[in-house]
């Protein structure tokens, strides 16, 4: 209890007087007052005592036994509470207990006044009560009863601040608030003390602007401050509030650190999505939707109209290397899926069947420059509608993507035709784009309506595209010009009253007037002149001082024109006027008027490779055999293990797709012959010998009148033998050469062979490892671990296989000795080492005589003998046709193979493996 200056007897006397007052109202109350309040009356002042008495009497006046109970409880609590509350606060406290009523009975609430608050200042207690009053009852109870004890470790200003903020949690979902409150202090303490104030203020910000996120933010506080500096956290909160403004669910996930976007923003990495992150899923998606295997390749930026494939049969689909159009990672990934679906849709709906060699045809120099763009737009509409019919989920995705792109176009320029397609797909309730877009859309899109029919073909799209292209005659490629907004919309309005909206009729879009020819009477020349003037003025080219047409004038003109050409409907006149305008517009556009810069060059895809590791790792020293001195040179070579940069599995997947037929066959071959070992198997019903243990049990069972088991025999049964194989790949610079009679580099063929082996071995379950080697001189021999023995063929390994590239020289001896160490720890009884190379061992200081390979050959021969002595069986495969010359010297004839046709390596390697490893 806070000590006060010993009060005068006044306080006690005052209390006694009040006691009398109370007794007049109720004897019980008066008695309680004397028992509870009088002894501690000295700690309060007169006003407080009055307030207490008034409160009690008010309760009494309410009547009813419940109020009486509360009054009694109030008095009972007086011992502790009298000193705590000033006169005006007693009322608030009582109000709080009434507020808590749904969650806790008032009397109990009064009794449950936490002891911890006694140590607080009055201001803190006031804040606390007010905060609790601001919350819904369940949360208020938590704040009232449970939270004060938890605030023990905080200092006073922080307590105040936290209490104030917690009171602002009223808008958050009730179920989350109470637990959050209980943990609030603990969570805050987990934050570094220097950041407490910041954390509390951020919490307050979020509680005010986005209440549902506040409990989530509270939970994330410790991690936030652990992972990022304070400024970053502030920026993160701002970002979260922006996201929450658009998508509340995403906002909640953001603040709970439960979305990828949230983590990326916190770590200040980009929310752009790279192709390698999603290409595995997208590849399968395209395969499933279109029925044809597809290999993704990176090409350019995101476009709603993906570029055409030059050779669609090759099964490659061009996806953007990275997508960063929208703000969150999840949204960008969704755009990737939309793009992949459109590409699959093209295959499914025979876009490339319009004419043979579509891409070349469209890009031919004598065709209009925008023909390709128009075709992509028209066919895009067709494919999108077809996909939407079959897949409602995709229809929703396309609408979403179009709407978002339209919105994003305000900040980032996008190609005109992309935006037109977005406008066509976005649906009726999409946000309106800029006026120039709306105008162009009104002109162009209605003509595309027939493509939404189920029987529209790519040839129809091509025809329409050709007609559309005349709208932009002789424009430069890549032109995205603005069109006249008001005029187009005017004409749309003007024609509203007639049959289909003014200039936007399907036939009117840039056909050159063929369809209107029958029923069109020529428009009055003045009308045409004024229209032309207006067009020029809108384009900014009108002669100075010429008066353009205002909307009213135009309407009057149109009506005059209608009067002039009797019998024509207003719509028809408007149509013709529109036609005229669009043709004129096309001509004007052709005259080099560029109001929007053409799309810039695509940025280079971000380099996603891991940097080449600085060889700061362990250095291994190996001896080398010198045939001249007939002895080892101790610790002659320094070898490092260098990590390979990965390509996230792109090469691996492509190689699998290329050799799609070979892999299952290889697997089948492997299963044909199995290396065997015999082991005894017990518990058989028939076999070579008795199993004594089972026999004894059976006898006992018989005695016990139970049916004995018939499984009394043992036999020796074949069992699989464990094998472990290490593939050592020569990554010297000479593998960069193209193999004779094959179109590819030797290293690529070797990589393909490894991919097939790995895929087949994964299935069968044999242990294997893959290492590459190269180097430059004896002080810098490099071994590149691609897959260790225990490692699974996961994305990391696949990426490393893709990262294999030609390097330096070929110092075989040191590499062999190094990988031998890796094999020593294996328990498999059968161990093999398969060396894949393309030439003889050579290095810049492999022996004193650079011209002679003898040193290297001898050293490698000795290394191979070491390998054999260690119980590992080596085998050398070379694609060097002259291999016989030196391999004969290095190892036994059964231990090497020269492959004549390099391109056959992927097919041959599994056979060799099978012969060697599985049949041995």
């Amino acid at each position: 209890m806070r000590s006060r200056a010993p009060s005068s007897a006044d306080a006690t006397a005052h209390a006694a007087a009040l006691a009398t007052r109370l007794e007049a109202a109720s004897t019980t109350l008066g008695r309680l007052w004397r028992e509870r309040v009088l002894p501690v009356a000295a700690t309060a002042d007169a006003a407080t005592l009055d307030a207490w008495a008034d409160a009690v009497l008010a309760l009494r006046a309410d009547g009813g036994w419940r109020a009486e109970r509360v009054a009694q409880a109030l008095l009972a609590a007086a011992e502790r509470a009298l000193a705590l509350f000033a006169a005006d606060e007693v009322g608030r406290w009582l109000a709080l207990t009434r507020h808590l009523h749904p969650a806790l009975d008032e009397a109990l609430a009064l009794a449950a006044l936490p002891t911890a608050v006694a140590a607080w200042s009055a201001a803190e207690r006031r804040t606390w009560i007010e905060a609790a009053l601001a919350l819904p009852p369940a949360a208020a109870l938590a704040l009232y009863r449970d939270v004060p004890a938890t605030l023990a470790g905080l200092d006073a200003p922080m307590r105040m601040a936290l209490l104030a903020v917690l009171g602002r949690f009223a808008g958050a979902p009730p179920a989350e608030v109470a637990p959050a409150l209980a943990l609030a202090a603990a969570l805050l303490r987990a934050v570094p003390p220097a950041s407490h104030a910041l954390a509390v203020s951020l919490l307050g910000q979020v509680a005010d602007r986005f209440p549902p996120g506040a409990p989530a933010l509270l939970g994330s506080l410790p991690r936030l401050f652990e992972e990022a500096p304070a400024e970053r956290v502030v920026a993160w909160v701002d970002c979260g509030l922006e996201i929450a403004a658009e998508q509340p669910e995403a906002g909640r996930a953001f603040f709970a650190l439960a979305s990828r976007t949230s983590l990326r923003v916190l770590r200040n990495t980009t929310t752009a999505v790279g192709l390698d992150e999603v290409q595995g899923v997208l590849r399968r998606l395209v395969h499933m939707l279109s029925g044809v295997p597809a290999v993704p390749r990176a090409a350019g930026r995101f476009q709603l109209r993906p570029p055409l494939e030059e050779s669609p049969d090759h099964g490659a689909v061009a996806l953007p290397a990275t997508v960063d159009m929208l703000d969150t990672w999840e949204d960008n990934a969704r755009l990737y899926r939309v793009c992949a679906a459109l590409l699959a849709g093209r295959r499914e709906h025979a876009t490339y069947a319009a004419i043979p060699d579509l891409a070349t045809h469209l890009r031919a120099p004598e065709r209009p420059a925008v023909l390709e763009d128009c075709f992509l737009l028209a066919d895009g509409v067709r494919v999108a509608h077809a996909l939407g019919r079959d897949y409602p989920g995709l229809a929703a995705d396309l609408r979403w993507a179009s709407a978002r792109l339209l919105r994003a176009s305000a900040r980032r320029p996008a190609p005109l035709f992309d935006l037109l397609l977005a406008r066509a797909l976005a649906g009726a309730d999409a946000p309106a784009g800029p006026p120039w877009l709306e105008g162009t859309a009104a002109l162009v899109l209605p003509s595309l309506a027939p493509l939404a029919a189920p029987d529209a073909t790519a040839a129809d799209a091509l025809r329409l595209a050709e007609r559309l292209a005349t709208l932009f005659p002789e424009s430069e490629r890549g032109l995205g010009g603005e069109v006249i907004p008001e005029l187009a919309m005017l004409l749309v309005e003007a024609g509203d009253e007639g049959p289909p909206a003014g200039p936007g009729t399907p036939q009117a879009g840039g056909t050159g007037g063929e369809d209107d020819g029958e029923d069109a009477e020529p428009l009055p020349p003045e009308l045409l002149e004024r229209l032309e003037l207006m067009l020029d003025e809108q384009l900014g080219e009108g002669p100075d001082g010429a008066a353009g047409l205002s909307p009213d004038e135009l309407r009057r003109l149109l009506e005059a024109g209608i009067a002039a050409t009797l019998g024509q409907s207003r719509g028809a006149v408007a149509r013709q006027a529109g036609l005229f305008v669009t043709q004129l517009l096309g001509k004007r556009l052709a005259e080099g008027l560029v109001l929007r810069a053409p799309e810039g060059t695509a940025p280079a895809p971000p380099a996603r490779r891991i940097g080449h590791q600085r060889p700061g790792g362990a250095v291994f020293r190996y001896d080398e055999w010198d045939h001249v001195i007939g002895d080892y040179r101790p610790e002659w070579c320094a070898l490092r293990e260098v990590a390979l940069p990965g390509d996230s599995g792109l090469y691996f997947d492509r190689a699998l797709a290329r050799h799609a037929a070979l892999v299952p066959e290889v697997r089948r071959q492997f299963q044909l012959v199995r290396p065997e070992l015999y082991r005894p198997l017990r518990g058989l019903e028939d076999g070579e010998e008795f199993d004594l243990g089972a026999l004894v049990d059976a006898r006992a069972e018989r005695r016990a009148r139970q049916a004995p088991s018939p499984k009394l025999y043992t036999a020796r049964v074949r069992q699989e033998r464990e094998v472990a194989t290490l593939f050592l790949l020569d990554m010297s610079a000479s593998t960069d050469e193209t193999a004779p009679n094959a179109g590819e580099r030797i290293i690529d063929i070797a990589k393909d062979a490894l991919v097939i082996m790995a895929a087949a071995l994964e299935e069968i379950g044999d242990q294997y490892a893959v290492y590459g080697f190269s180097g430059q001189g004896r002080e810098q021999v490099e071994v590149y671990p691609i897959k260790h023995f225990g490692e699974r063929l996961g994305p990391a390994v696949r990426g490393r296989i893709g990262g294999i590239e030609p390097r330096g020289s070929t110092r075989m001896g040191a590499a062999l000795r190094h990988v031998l160490v890796a094999m020593r720890g294996l328990s498999a009884p059968a161990r093999h080492l398969i060396l894949l190379s393309d030439g003889f061992p050579q290095d810049l200081d492999y022996g004193s005589d650079r011209q002679s390979h003898l040193y290297g050959i001898r050293d490698t021969a000795v290394a191979l003998r070491e390998v054999q002595a260690a119980g590992v069986r080596p085998f050398c495969i070379t694609v060097d046709l002259a291999g016989h010359d030196y391999l004969r010297e290095m190892c036994d004839p059964q231990q090497y193979l020269v492959i004549e046709r390099v391109a056959a390596l992927p097919r041959e390697l599994p056979k060799i493996y099978q012969r060697l490893v599985r049949a041995a």
Binding site: G280, M288, L289, P664, D697, S709
Partner: protein, 296 residues
């Protein structure tokens, strides 16, 4: 302990066999639902008339067992007056530890007596039912060889433990099934076994028929069933890309049943199709995407 376990199993088997009512065929069972995809019903009927043993080959969950049940329930018997087993069908699930005595029968000790109990194959032979050996390649070769005498013109089953040579009932037929897709070459049928059977290839039905099957089995409306069948068709495209079996009709029926129970379609496909089919994260996500595209 194994002997005790064995004894319990044997006792259970004994009870089951002793209590199983021997009824005339087709007495109580309704005919199971089966939608023919090709001419398999006619071929099987013709084989039945000639009492030729049949081998059913196909991926898992494509309707082989259901087909056999259907045929067993609808085929006319030559001696209908003989009592037979319920449904006219005895199914044996084959596995690597399946021994000859599991098929043919064994002596069991009951109290003080030793009683001969017929195995499923012997019961079928004796009473004239279709004996259906499911996944026959899993069984050991020496067990499968037991059926050879039944599959040629002799139609006898030698039971060496009792010294009998059983002649097959006129209404006995042997049907085998297995899945040729993923079997390893070691576990293939020997030629001497294969060449005793008429072989029928089963695959997953085309989309419309599959939709009807799904609708019937799961109680779903036809539209939703068509969507599930479309999903199945799409996923089967991934045959060369890591899902060699595609998704079985059975899984699609499960998904349909979950939807019928009120599970959201996308979630039902997630648990019944993607997660059941593959552990590869990317494939599962891709299948989820396609399900999302189809169901919205």
């Amino acid at each position: 302990m194994r002997p005790r376990e064995d004894a319990r199993r044997a006792a259970a088997w004994l009870d089951c066999v002793a209590r199983a009512p021997l009824l005339p065929s087709r007495a109580v069972h309704e005919v199971p639902f089966y939608l023919p995809v090709g001419d398999e019903v006619d071929i099987f009927r013709a084989a039945w008339e000639a009492r030729l043993p049949v081998l059913l080959k196909g991926p898992t969950g494509c309707g082989k067992t259901r087909f056999v049940e259907y045929m067993a329930a609808t085929l006319p018997r030559r001696r209908p007056e003989d009592v037979a087993v319920p449904g006219n069908l005895i199914t044996v699930a084959c596995h690597e530890d399946l021994t000859g005595s599991d098929l043919v029968g064994r002596y069991l000790i009951k109290g003080d007596e030793t009683v001969w109990i017929d195995g499923p194959l012997t019961r079928a032979v004796r009473h004239g039912a279709i004996c259906y050996l499911d996944e026959v390649v899993e069984a050991r070769k020496d067990t499968v060889v037991l059926i050879h005498p039944l599959t040629d013109h002799r139609r006898i089953l030698p039971v060496d433990k009792t010294g009998e040579i059983l002649e097959a009932h006129p209404d006995f037929l042997l049907v085998l099934s297995y899945n040729p897709g993923y079997q390893s070459v070691m576990k293939d049928l020997k030629q001497s076994t294969r060449q005793r059977f008429v072989a029928l290839d089963f695959g997953y039905p085309p989309r419309d028929q599959e939709a009807r099957i799904i609708a019937h089995e799961s109680g779903l409306e036809l539209d939703a069933a068509v969507q599930l069948a479309a999903l199945g068709e799409r996923v089967r495209h991934l045959k060369s890309s890591g899902l060699p079996e595609g998704v079985s009709t059975r899984l699609l029926v499960y998904a349909g049943q979950l939807v019928r129970q009120g599970v959201a379609p996308r979630r039902a496909c997630g648990v019944a199709v993607s997660r059941a089919l593959t552990d590869d994260h990317e494939s599962a996500r891709a299948i989820d995407e396609v399900a999302g595209a189809i169901f919205g």
